[in-house]
Subunit: 394 residues, 4 copies
């Protein structure tokens, strides 16, 4: 079958900032590396500003631009809606798109509240009955090393899991004069480090272990209470207005929580934007009765694995370079040892999403998974507001 | 001044197992590497079994043996009593020795309860008034890399400290059939991972930051509830009786707690004996507004330091190999790059203790420091028993 | 200026195997990440098999296909010819393209012999006089970490360079039954590890230091003299014919040489395909009177830098994560800490090539640079054939 | 058997600088950690200055002092002579001691010339016939990780060895004003980096592989030709006279050579004192058809091992922490994960030497081994003097 004879899958995307650029890259490249059952067409990009969205569409490879996401959803040539906007808009767009029969890929966190996430999961449930698919963008599940980690757990190589140690450490707001961007405002972002990067480690830990967090005891902290008003921002960078106005930071700078997993493991989580010198450290370490795993996103092509069944004389943590043909996703790329970068977590996400659509199966992580992460976040917030009191995840 | 013209400091030691062997090494070697103001003489070793203590004395370099520690304390040629026994005996021996005018070096944890530790700190206070010194053996303060870390904090190189991340990970009881050694019995050991290795990271974190833990929220877990009765044990190794008798494990296998430091930092602590593949990993990571530090005891000659004041173009965590003449303790040893091992944390401890005795100053960590660690342990235990409820350290 | 208003640069590519896939990715994506002065259009792909080249064109994003590279060169809509074929064909295609007024990007090694490379450099010289540009694809110059390394040397941060240590270690032919692919045949590949991966470290070492190799003393070795005939190959992978025919390996498996650099440094080079477990390790270490650098391609987002002017108390090799906005190329991508992969060395190469074309400047590395590397390879071959006799690089 | 009932082995040592301090430590401690068949007694220390040798003896634990090594050899209570002086004195002392029936432990390099080393090996041969033992102090054979490496090679875990990569990198004379210490004078030290640290990697590579170097092609370099006259030196440190006198450096600063091993492997060696930032990096990497090993002395408790027989999905270099009871020497020390330092390479050396004496077997490395290393050094020097011409090791 040539590409030409394959059905086309029209994609419309909402938002074109950090996540929009990353998703565009994925839509632009997936078919060149993976044998997809249908061929994605980058039909339209939606944004509020006509000039900016048009320029972005041209630059990022979208065939047209829309200034209202409702128009995007209405288009017949759009079969998939990819949502890359801040969290406060996810629910409205996703529910509308699903109800209109569009498959939806929605960036994480799924929503800013459990209520929104519940409505979205319900919409996804209704849509699934009609063959419409929904997926939440916990892209790190598609890091080959973490997909391999999941595989090793499934193969029983870790035995009974005793400990999970998860950290997501960044440092981009250490400077007290870094401005008050939308990610620091509760009404847009829902929470701070907790929902932005904490959500990633919650999902990653649950995905790799196959267990769920059943309860938590948490602390939240906002080290810098007020910041200059932001003028413009892009990615994690921003500029400040000339004047001296400062606004209140309404989200957490750091979140710290201990928990118990459904399988009996103890778990510790930390998400912070104040870990000076740690730019994008997502560490995950898992200890089981038969083996252990360790991972760091800054070295994302490596998985560290300890096999406790080996002779102690030669046992040791192995650095598996996850670039072999037998490793998840890696066979589609380069010869062994030729590493991949951050953006291909999205390329892999798109590949899996497109395959799920074509095969009529529900992709993972589902909106229900996104909702469950939201419930963990809610339990963390509740515990922190009650002096660390143990709080069950509902 | 030749060694011969220096006063002799008679030392008596109680206990000759793991810690006794380590301390003996220190007493045997310190004067060969450091210019001590007085010369330690290894006068006598005390233990209960005549045969065993005599053999140990001969092997470890002690001039004589005693079968009752009370006799050791009574000897005029013993000026220092070094206590290397399990925690349940510390208070009685230490208080008796101090009251008898002997300087005391006591292994950590200082005691098994706050009550005992309080009595010991009071005895140390009384003794200090008479020029008698007491020190608790948190030997990791004498790892050159951690002493350097303390120095960098004191120099302001970290700025305001935001995060402390401390883990002590071992795996020696992962096997459910590992026997019930004294370290797994509450009446002898006080607690499990918490008091044994958790005490080390509590002290290390407080020492390096100069801050105190003011409150905690904790979880404790005993994964394996019953174990075979131990026949004999040495160090962290043991053998099992032939029969099938099992006894109840009365201490924690793992301790996990979050806390706040007196300076405003968030802190996370984890101590476990179930981190498969982690043999003796003591990790300490500290993030401040001006820089960060990271350390791992398995690579104990290295300190990782990030200087946030550097140009981002060349900033990065540096691996400082702590073997330079200008590094703490290192000048007494070998040329740069020639690394030291675990046992010299004790060598350095003895050096500092002997110098404090000679100069008439109170050594650190003091019994009061040991008591404060005991209070943290007590708060952890209390919080864990109350579902993670926030518990102030008194 | 919108993209639409920018001139279009028509690109034709020859070859679509490993390098062709990598270059296609670059042409497909560069304009989405970098503000290019003109917009590349992927006009046509050339290959010998109609079916295969058409399928590849469709998959990789080329608008049309040609079965004769001469036709490609003749097309008016092709302004750039990108040569991704084996080394024995480079000279003919490149010279024809340059003489036809097409800018040429040619994969490394520039050619299989000094004679061919000389003719190519001469053609590039003629073309340059007419504003036509030529560049050889030593893509690792565009690893941000190596570009930063070059910058640090230029800034004087290394002082006088004393040592260069360069290794390129792979292991894909360790198995004696791995088939005799074209990379193991001298008539197609010119040489083995030497020209394939040795060329990379020769160029990288000279690029970063700014010095040239002036003489070498070398050993070459072919460990496995005969191998099964290959049926098909892709990338570094291949399958074997059913029968038992074996053919002679006519290239080196490993090359080892010592040399002197024009600035006085001693240099050691090793290129091998028999370093079991080393998948794609390109290590470069440089020691100077004022500092040192170390790099490993398997951790390509990191540069290790030692600043000898620092206080020894805090000096140490720093791991610079080369993802800051101020780092070469990095600002166009993701926030700090979000790493890049192998393929973007080509993205950066295309960016620099397009900018050179637009600005009318000669890009680097030039064909003259490629010729000089070929001269080093020739000197190595000569020395190895004469028992390691010192051989000047002409 | 108690220690007391074991025979005593009287030890006399010559020299008390860097190596003398290290050996003293070994003699002082070996019996406390290992069950030795006889008990070493530190009988006497010899040196030229009465005051200095007496002070050193007291400090280092020697019972008496001699100002003439000939007196030391004459003493009946001295059964072992340990030679820790510069290389130009080794032959005379060692031959005299052996001929007097004393067992000899001689620091490396065995001698400064092949002629001296030959005479020493002959003396050792004569002595062996009388039950007198001789050993050369290539102490790194007693790094547990390198002893384990040797074991893995012997077990066939590496298969056919293809590559040896050995580097010994230091930086203590990078500063052109570092003084002209004895290690920089050919008449005392024989050679520079080559004989001092190059000898170590020659021995280590041959020991671990079990193969011999059969030929070499070499470069030597002295970057700094003249240096200030040294006033006093200790270890690798020194001070300079007030005046401006400079003397000629008569040894190499760096040695670089390629070679072939008797088993067919290619080998590269580099020894330098100009690797800025590398304090004591002894790297050894070995690639075989079935596996690979890597080691770095700055992380001396770790051995990196790649097992090529593993499934590629989980294969990777393992970091073996060489502190398990089943690892060479490690069982005598601390629990797993408690690391050892540089000085215990000597402790292990003494243990093996004493056991060989007691059991009447010839210890390794023998004087013949030391002579063979000297022959390699001689071949390197010859090749370097002949522009890298291939030179067989005789």
């Amino acid at each position: 079958m040539t590409h030409a004879s394959r059905p086309t899958l029209g994609v419309g995307m909402v938002g074109y900032a950090f996540m929009g650029r990353a998703h565009s890259q994925a839509w632009r490249n997936t078919a060149a590396f993976f044998d997809l059952p249908c061929t994605p067409a980058m039909v339209a990009l939606a944004g509020r500003s006509r000039d900016q969205v048009s320029a972005a569409a041209e630059r990022l490879g979208w065939a047209s631009a829309e200034t209202d996401w409702r128009e995007l959803i209405r288009r017949d040539d759009v079969h998939v809606v990819d949502i890359c906007t801040p969290g406060d808009t996810h629910a409205e767009i996703a529910i509308a798109a699903l109800d209109a029969g569009k498959h939806v890929l929605c960036e994480k966190p799924l929503a800013n509240t459990v209520a929104e996430a519940t409505a979205m999961a319900e919409a996804a449930g209704r849509a699934a009955a009609n063959g419409v698919r929904a997926m939440v963008g916990f892209n790190y599940r598609r890091v080959p090393a973490l997909a391999l980690a999941r595989g090793l757990v499934l193969d029983g190589r870790l035995g009974t899991i005793r400990h999970v140690r998860a950290q997501y450490l960044q440092d981009w707001i250490v400077d007290p004069d870094f401005p008050l961007v939308w990610r620091l405002e509760a009404d847009k972002a829902g929470s701070g480090a907790l929902g932005d990067i904490g959500a990633h480690i919650i999902d990653a830990a649950q995905y790799v272990t196959g267990d769920r967090l059943i309860g938590v005891s948490a602390l939240l902290e906002t080290f810098i209470k007020e910041r200059p008003i932001a003028q413009a921002s892009a990615g994690l960078d921003a500029t400040v207005d000339g004047d001296d106005r400062r606004g209140r930071v309404t989200v957490d700078d750091a979140a710290l929580f201990a928990g118990r997993m459904s399988g009996g493991a103890l778990a510790s989580f930390e998400a912070t934007r104040f870990a000076t010198g740690r730019k994008n450290v997502l560490r995950l370490e898992i200890n089981g009765s038969a083996g252990s795993l360790a991972f760091d996103l800054e070295s994302m092509n490596e998985l560290s694995f300890y096999d406790h069944t080996e002779d102690p004389r030669t046992a040791g943590f192995r650095r598996i370079l996850v670039t072999e043909p037998s490793h998840p996703y890696a066979g589609a790329w380069w010869p062994p040892g030729h590493v991949l970068g951050y953006e291909h977590t999205f390329t892999h996400e798109v590949k899996d999403f497109v395959e799920a659509i074509a095969s009529g199966t529900d992709p993972e992580p589902s909106f229900a998974d996104g909702l469950q992460v939201q419930r963990v976040i809610s339990a963390v917030t509740h515990s922190a507001a009650h002096h660390g009191a143990w709080t069950a995840v509902e």
